[in-house]
C-alpha cells in the first residue's frame, strides 16, 4: 500500500506541476498502477477486493510528461489552471479523427502536454510543440470525419411497405 501511495503522489505531483491541478475532485480518489492512474468514487473502495476494473483511466506518465485520457481531461481539466488549449468547434472532428491542430503561438502555454477543449467539451490531451498540438487520441477512440445522413423515418416507411432501403 505504501508503494501504491508513492505512485499516486508521483502522478499527483506531475499533474500539479504541468497543469496546476492541486487536488482531486471531492468524493473521488486517485488509484495508480505502475504508470497509469484511475479515478474512482470513494464508495467504490469497498469493492476493490473483488473488482477487475474500477472507475476510469484518467492519466498516465509518459517520457514527455503527464498524458490525460479524454475522461481524465473531463474529470480533472476543470481544475487545471495552466496549459489548457481551447480549440475551435470546427477543429473537433479533425482532432477526433487523429489529426494534429495548427495553433501557432498560444500565449501562456508552454511546450509539452496540454489539455485540449472546445467550449465545455473536453477532448483529452495532446503535445504542444510551440506551433501545433500533436494528436494523442488513441486509435480506439478515433472517429470518422464525415458520414452521409440517413432518413430513418423513410427507411421505416419503406420497410413497412416491404421495399428495400
Amino acid at each position: 500500500m505504501e508503494a501504491r501511495l508513492g505512485r499516486e503522489e508521483r502522478i499527483t505531483a506531475l499533474l500539479r506541476e504541468r497543469f496546476g491541478i492541486d487536488e482531486i475532485p471531492e468524493g473521488y480518489v486517485l488509484l495508480s498502477s505502475a504508470r497509469k492512474a484511475r479515478l474512482v468514487s470513494t464508495e467504490t473502495l469497498d469493492f476493490l477486493d473483488v473488482a477487475s476494473v474500477a472507475g476510469v483511466y484518467v492519466a498516465k506518465e509518459t517520457p514527455f510528461g503527464p498524458h490525460l485520457s479524454i475522461e481524465g481531461s473531463r474529470l480533472l481539466g476543470p481544475l487545471a489552471t495552466k496549459n489548457v488549449v481551447e480549440v475551435d468547434p470546427e477543429d473537433v472532428d479533425a482532432w477526433m479523427s487523429g489529426s494534429d491542430i495548427e495553433k501557432g503561438e498560444v500565449p501562456g502555454v508552454e511546450p509539452g502536454p496540454v489539455i485540449v477543449k472546445s467550449g465545455e467539451i473536453y477532448l483529452g490531451s495532446g503535445y504542444y510543440d510551440g506551433r501545433r498540438i500533436r494528436n494523442m487520441v488513441s486509435r480506439a477512440r478515433r472517429s470518422e470525419q464525415s458520414q452521409p445522413l440517413i432518413d430513418y423515418t423513410l427507411r421505416r416507411e419503406k420497410e413497412e411497405r416491404g421495399e428495400e432501403f
Binding site: 468524493g27 473521488y28 479515478l39 474512482v40 468514487s41 464508495e43 467504490t44 469497498d46 469493492f47 476493490l48 473483488v50 473488482a51 477487475s52 476494473v53 474500477a54 472507475g55 476510469v56 483511466y57 485520457s69 479524454i70 475522461e71 473531463r74 474529470l75 473537433v92 472532428d93 477526433m96 479523427s97 465545455e120 467539451i121 473536453y122 477532448l123 480506439a140 477512440r141 478515433r142 472517429s143 470518422e144 458520414q147 452521409p148 445522413l149 440517413i150 432518413d151 430513418y152 423515418t153 427507411r155 421505416r156 420497410e159 413497412e160 416491404g162
Partner: protein, 320 residues
C-alpha cells in the same frame, strides 16, 4: 408472414406468440418485421444536453424526445454509423434502444447509493444509472463473460463513469463472493431469448425454441434469486428482459414472490405498457403480477421488454 424470410418464424413460436398476443398477433408481427427508429441517450455528465442536442441538429440530425427519459432521443435523421461519430467517441451519447432505457428509470438509483447490475454487459443500463447517480456512489457491474466484460469496461470508460467497478463472475455465485455486502438497489437485466431484439435481426427468432426458453428460465430464476439475496432489506430490485415469454418473465418473478418479495408498479411517465400476466395456459398466477410491465413493440414502436419492480420487505427473513 411474407415479411419474414422463410424458416425464421418457427411453428412453435407462432403458436406460442399467437396465444400471447391474441387479436394483436398480426400487428405484433408487422412491427417485428421492421427495424425500430434508432435512439441515443445523451450523457448529461459530459455536456449540457440542450447544447449537445443543438450541436447535433446543427449537423443535420433530426431528433425526437423519448417521452420516458429526459436524455433519450430517437434519431429520425442521422449518420448511418451512429457509433463512429466524434460525439459518440467522446462519450457524449450512447446508442441505446428506447425501451432499454426503461429498467433504470424504474429502478431510479440515487447518488451515493450502492447499486448492483448483475448482468451488465455491454453497459447501456450501467452507464445510464451511473449518470442518474451523478457519478456518485457505486455500481458494481458484473458479467460472467470476459469478452463481454471487456466491452462493458470500454463503454464505462468512454462514458466516463468513475463510480463503477466491474467484476467478472458467474452472477449466481455473487452472494458468496460478496459475503455480507448488500445493495440499496439491484438490476437483474437477465440474459434471455431476446425476441425483443428480433426487430434488429432475425437471429433471435432463428435460435428460438421452447426448450431454450425453459433452459434459460432456470438460469434467470437463479440470477434473480442471487440479486434478491444481495438486496438490502427495504431495497428495490428491477428484473427485466427483452423478451415476452411468461416463463422468462412472470414465472421468474413468481419465484421471488415465493421468497417473500413484494411487487411495486413502476411509475414511468408517458410509456404505454400492459400489465403482467395473471393467467397463462389455464394456470392462474399471483394477481400481484399485474404490477409488472409488458412493453410490446406495437405500444411505443420499440423493442419488446418486460420490467418488474420488486421490493424486499423490511422484515424479510431467512437466507434472503
Amino acid at each position: 408472414m411474407e415479411r419474414f424470410p422463410e424458416g425464421v418464424l418457427k411453428p412453435a413460436f407462432q403458436e406460442r406468440y399467437r396465444k400471447l398476443m391474441g387479436s394483436e398477433y398480426e400487428l405484433f408481427l408487422r412491427f417485428m418485421a421492421t427495424r425500430p427508429i434508432p435512439s441515443i441517450r445523451l450523457n448529461p455528465m459530459k455536456a449540457d444536453p440542450h447544447r449537445l442536442r443543438k450541436r447535433l441538429e446543427s449537423r443535420g440530425w433530426r431528433l425526437e424526445q423519448i417521452p420516458w427519459y429526459d436524455f433519450g432521443f430517437w434519431v429520425l435523421r442521422g449518420p448511418e454509423r451512429l457509433g463512429a461519430t466524434p460525439e459518440h467517441q467522446l462519450g457524449l451519447y450512447y446508442v441505446q434502444e428506447a425501451a432499454s432505457m426503461v429498467p433504470p428509470v424504474a429502478l431510479d438509483p440515487q447518488p451515493r447509493e450502492r447499486v448492483l447490475d448483475l448482468a451488465a454487459a455491454p453497459g447501456s443500463k450501467t452507464t445510464q444509472m451511473a449518470e442518474m447517480m451523478g457519478w456518485r456512489g457505486v455500481i458494481l457491474a458484473n458479467d460472467s463473460n470476459l469478452g463481454r466484460a471487456n466491452a462493458l469496461s470500454a463503454n464505462i470508460q468512454r462514458m466516463g463513469c468513475p463510480n463503477v467497478v466491474v467484476t467478472v463472475r458467474d452472477g449466481r455465485i455473487l452472494p458468496k463472493v460478496l459475503s455480507s455486502r448488500r445493495f440499496d438497489r439491484v438490476l437483474v437485466d437477465a440474459p434471455c431469448s431476446a425476441v425483443g431484439e428480433a426487430r434488429r435481426s432475425w437471429g433471435a427468432l432463428k435460435r428460438w425454441s421452447l426448450r431454450a426458453v425453459r433452459r434459460i428460465s432456470r438460469l434467470q430464476k437463479s440470477l434473480a434469486l442471487a440479486g434478491y439475496r444481495l438486496l438490502k432489506k427495504g431495497g428495490l430490485m428491477v428484473y427485466s428482459t427483452c423478451t415476452l415469454d411468461p416463463e422468462e418473465n412472470e414465472f421468474v418473478v413468481l419465484s421471488l414472490l415465493r421468497e417473500g418479495a413484494e411487487l411495486v408498479r413502476p411509475e414511468i411517465l408517458n410509456l404505454k405498457a400492459r400489465p403482467g400476466l395473471t393467467r397463462w395456459e389455464d394456470r392462474e398466477l399471483d394477481p400481484a403480477l399485474s404490477r409488472a410491465l409488458r412493453i410490446y413493440p406495437q405500444d411505443n414502436d420499440t423493442q419488446a421488454f418486460f420490467v418488474a419492480l420488486i421490493k424486499k420487505p423490511l422484515d424479510a427473513g431467512g437466507e434472503c
